[in-house]
């Protein structure tokens, strides 16, 4: 008998359908894994459970009784504990204040002393059995792994009977991950219900009693521990055989260099990376999160200050801002990772969004040439098959996949020589992804190049001509055709020598205990 039942939950945001009659049943004392691609609806479902979002339709039963979670406080009261993917820590408060937020045991005159908080923290950390962080430090002064651990500690304090961990390991180190997996099993033994969301299939298979797969906003299958192979899970996640998702490799790679980067250094994480991107080539950037990959893109696009030399078609260039990068003379375009906050202007029309990057080219004496703008927009809608009723409609009324197409259309309108994709297929349905992959092939056929940072090793192996795996701010390995396999990407990500023969990637992942590729929606 299921302890927790979520039945036919539906939720939409504007034009985006996040959940489509999704169902999930969990029993007491189990770890229930939840897997699916970016945008499949996992995070949305658990946020409804935690009270952070309200469902449009459907019902939730706890121990047979219908319940509602109108807000997070109510959910906590009913025994739901959540470790949020993007963390729910308050930056200007200390670790102790965050962990015991709402549970302060006021001392003299209603004050909570630092010392009391500190002691309670250490007591908690001792019982958790792992180092967390300095209780007095403000959260905005902590590193990401520390924040993740604080988030976990915070959840425990409320003694929840249902625990949700949304991508809890992508920021953690190996020891911490092993601790967390064991911790989950212990909590389950105590009779609690754990819902464990992860992108790391081997992790899930290690720890979960049952695994439910989500795709396009609904549950598509549940398998018990040991029943499903990775392949089966992946094909459930994608809904079709992997092969048909990716277009044929037809691009001819020129020998002339398009973009040459020498000794790029930026921030604290990018130490020294050099590479050459050839014309018509798709160069993949891989590796574990936070190894400096984002900094490469930020440096090339002019968002972050960097040292090193960059040459475009042989000529040295310096880029100080995105407007320089996107300019006609240069032609470097970046498709950002977070569409909503970096990619589209949600309230503005589809037309305004698409023409934004080429606005300066559409001006006659400062005035917008409407017919030229219309031409650009119409050709983009056509070329990218953007489904929209009226180009004057706001972008937020479009589906997630179409919104991403708008971003691509906007950037490709500048006719860039190099398109940089920074983990840009998040929250995009499979169908649109296939269209995007085909588009990229077409782009390279015209002589442009693509620099692609992907956390999904599948994308890297099937789309890229070469892959650079970055580790600790340096190029760990360069994988050339024939050597680009999931296994090699994983090996290089961890600093191990790559294999020139074949090894079952699944076996490898399990024995190495690897983790996260990345947080996904």
């Amino acid at each position: 008998m299921a302890y927790l039942e979520l039945n036919n939950i539906s939720k939409r945001f504007g034009g985006v359908v996040a959940l489509d009659e999704a169902t999930l049943h969990c029993t007491k004392g189990e770890v229930h894994g939840l897997v699916g691609e970016n945008g499949a609806g996992k995070s949305t479902l658990v946020r409804i459970l935690s009270g952070a979002l309200q469902r449009d339709d459907g019902e939730i039963l706890l121990d047979g009784t219908p319940v509602a979670f109108p807000n997070p406080a109510e959910a906590v009261r009913l025994g739901i504990g959540m470790v949020y993917q993007e963390l729910s820590l308050i930056p200007d408060l200390s670790v102790g204040q965050n962990i015991f937020f709402g549970q302060e045991q006021s001392g003299v005159l209603g004050m909570t002393s630092r010392r009391a908080l500190r002691e309670r923290c250490y007591d908690l950390f001792d019982r958790m059995g792992i180092d967390v962080a300095d209780p007095d430090r403000l959260v905005n002064q902590l590193s990401l792994p520390q924040r993740q651990m604080v988030e976990i500690a915070k959840m425990i304090v409320h003694n929840p009977s249902v625990i949700i961990i949304d991508e809890g390991t992508s920021a953690l180190g190996r020891t911490q991950i092993e601790w967390l997996l064991e911790f989950c099993r212990n909590l389950a033994t105590q009779g609690r219900t754990i819902i464990y969301i992860s992108h790391n299939l081997s992790e899930i298979r290690q720890v979960a009693d049952q695994i439910t797969v989500f795709r396009n906003g609904e549950d598509v299958g549940t398998r018990a521990h040991g029943e499903a192979s990775t392949d089966e899970l992946v094909s459930l996640m994608l809904g079709r055989k992997i092969g048909r998702l990716y277009p044929e490799r037809t691009n001819e790679i020129g020998s002339e260099p398009m973009l040459e980067a020498s000794h790029l250094r930026a921030g604290t994480r990018l130490r020294d990376v050099s590479f050459t991107l050839r014309k018509g080539e798709i160069l993949g950037i891989g590796g574990l999160t936070g190894q400096g990959q984002e900094e490469i893109f930020r440096a090339l696009f002019g968002i972050q200050r960097a040292q090193g030399e960059v040459r475009l078609e042989g000529k040295p260039i310096t880029i100080h801002s995105p407007s320089e990068a996107l300019s006609h003379k240069v032609g470097l375009a970046l498709v950002p990772e977070d569409r909503a906050t970096q990619g589209v202007l949600l309230p503005r029309s589809v037309s305004d969004n698409i023409s934004l990057s080429v606005l300066s080219r559409l001006l006659r004496l400062g005035f917008i040439d409407r017919s030229a703008e219309r031409a650009v927009v119409e050709s983009a809608i056509d070329r990218f098959s953007i489904m929209v009723a009226d180009v004057a409609d706001p972008v937020e009324s479009l589906s997630g996949g179409n919104q991403q197409k708008v971003v691509l259309a906007k950037l490709l309108a500048t006719k860039p020589k190099v398109l940089m994709m920074c983990d840009s297929t998040r929250g995009v349905d499979v169908g649109t992804k296939a269209e995007i992959y085909t588009l990229l092939r077409e782009l390279t056929a015209t002589g442009s190049s693509v620099l692609w940072y992907a956390t999904d090793s599948d994308e890297l192996t099937n789309m890229c001509d070469r892959v650079l795996v970055i580790r600790q701010g340096l190029v760990e390995a360069e994988l050339t055709p024939g050597m680009i396999t999931e296994e090699n990407i994983i090996r290089a990500s961890m600093g191990e020598p790559i294999n020139h023969n074949g090894t079952d990637p699944d076996e490898l992942k399990q024995s190495a205990g690897i983790h996260a590729i990345r947080r996904h929606a």
Binding site: A73, F125, L142, N159, Q190, T268
Partner: protein
């Protein structure tokens, strides 16, 4: 809800890492204090004869209105908002104090209570419009400022009225040997230090720091914001009452100079428009810095008309310094 002690986690307890205890105040928190010492040192250098008790008393008395207004503004800023209606409430209570208060003790008590209630009422209205109706604070309090301004004019058309004698005597009396204004400020600071570390104080900071995350952690955003604006309304109301007593008459435009100056003082004191950080003690220092700039200019022999100019330049300087300090603090911590 069961306490954490009942959660059984590990079968045995491990002794995990202990971190060295660090001081609760960092050098970056002291920027307003440093600026304050700087300004006051300059004053005493130019006019050494002023370094005496009467000066302190004079300044405390004269500055209390701004201190009160700044205190109210600080609480609104803490939640990431702003309260422009402080000026209006101040004007309203100033006018009421000058027209309705007689010399009878019962009447005085009654009107003091009414004035406080008006402050609370103003806060409730502001809080409701901002937290429930979700109107941006700038516009919401700009509109309510206009309303309270109008109400003030209804009560008193021109500056005038009279001060209730017993009240004035009480305020001037200094029963403790120290000027009442200083006692008041001291009490305010102590009350703040207690409030800051209390449940409600923590919630104010949480809402200002990241409202979305505060919500996820179970904070009642509406009540927290209401509290902030109610407190700021009360401070504004008391400020108006005090001003009438101190100056000797009421005015329907008494509050106007204090709206933006209270915000400027708080900003000099390290508050951020984004909310979530800062401290009332520093804001009070900021208020005194602004006041002392006026004196500094006078003593330096420059026309006092230039005061706002120096205050404006100082504001830019202080805000830039505070922002740099905040960023440096984070960067240094992350590097460790």
């Amino acid at each position: 809800m069961m306490s954490t002690e009942s959660i059984t986690l590990e079968s045995g307890k491990k002794h995990t890492k202990r971190y060295p205890v660090r001081p609760s105040i960092t050098v970056y928190d002291l920027v307003p204090l440093i600026l304050f010492i700087l300004v006051i040192s300059l004053i005493f250098i130019i006019k050494p004869r002023l370094a005496n008790v009467q000066f302190v008393e004079l300044k405390a008395n004269a500055g209390l209105t701004l201190v009160l207004a700044t205190a109210g503004q600080t609480l609104a800023l803490l939640t990431g908002g702003i309260d422009l209606s402080i000026g209006g409430v101040l004007s309203l209570t100033s006018s009421l104090a000058a027209t309705m208060m007689t010399d009878e003790p019962l009447n005085i008590l009654l009107w003091c209570a009414i004035i406080l209630l008006i402050g609370m009422g103003a806060g409730l209205i502001n809080g409701y419009v901002i937290a429930v109706l979700r109107v941006p604070p700038f516009i919401a309090t700009l509109a309510s400022w206009s309303i309270f301004n109008g109400l003030a004019l209804l009560v008193l058309e021109d500056p005038g009225g009279h001060v209730s004698e017993p009240l004035r005597a009480l305020v001037r009396s200094d029963p403790l040997g120290i000027p009442n204004s200083i006692v008041f400020i001291a009490i305010l600071i102590v009350a703040w230090l207690l409030f800051k570390r209390s449940k409600w104080g923590t919630r104010l900071y949480a809402v200002g720091s990241d409202e979305a995350k505060a919500y996820l952690n179970g904070t009642d955003i509406v009540r927290t914001k209401m509290l902030a604006y109610v407190l700021s309304g009360c401070f504004a109301a008391v400020a108006g009452l005090y001003r009438t007593v101190e100056v000797g008459l009421g005015s329907p435009i008494a509050g106007d100079p204090f709206i933006l100056t209270s915000a400027a003082a708080a900003l000099v004191g390290g508050m951020s428009l984004a909310g979530g950080r800062g401290d009332l003690v520093n804001s009070i220092l900021g208020a005194f810095i602004m006041l002392f700039i006026f004196d500094l200019i006078q003593f330096a022999g420059i026309s006092s008309f230039y005061t706002p100019m120096v205050q404006g330049l100082f504001l830019i300087l202080a805000v830039t310094l505070n922002t740099i300090g905040y960023r440096l603090q984070i960067r240094k911590a992350l590097e460790q």
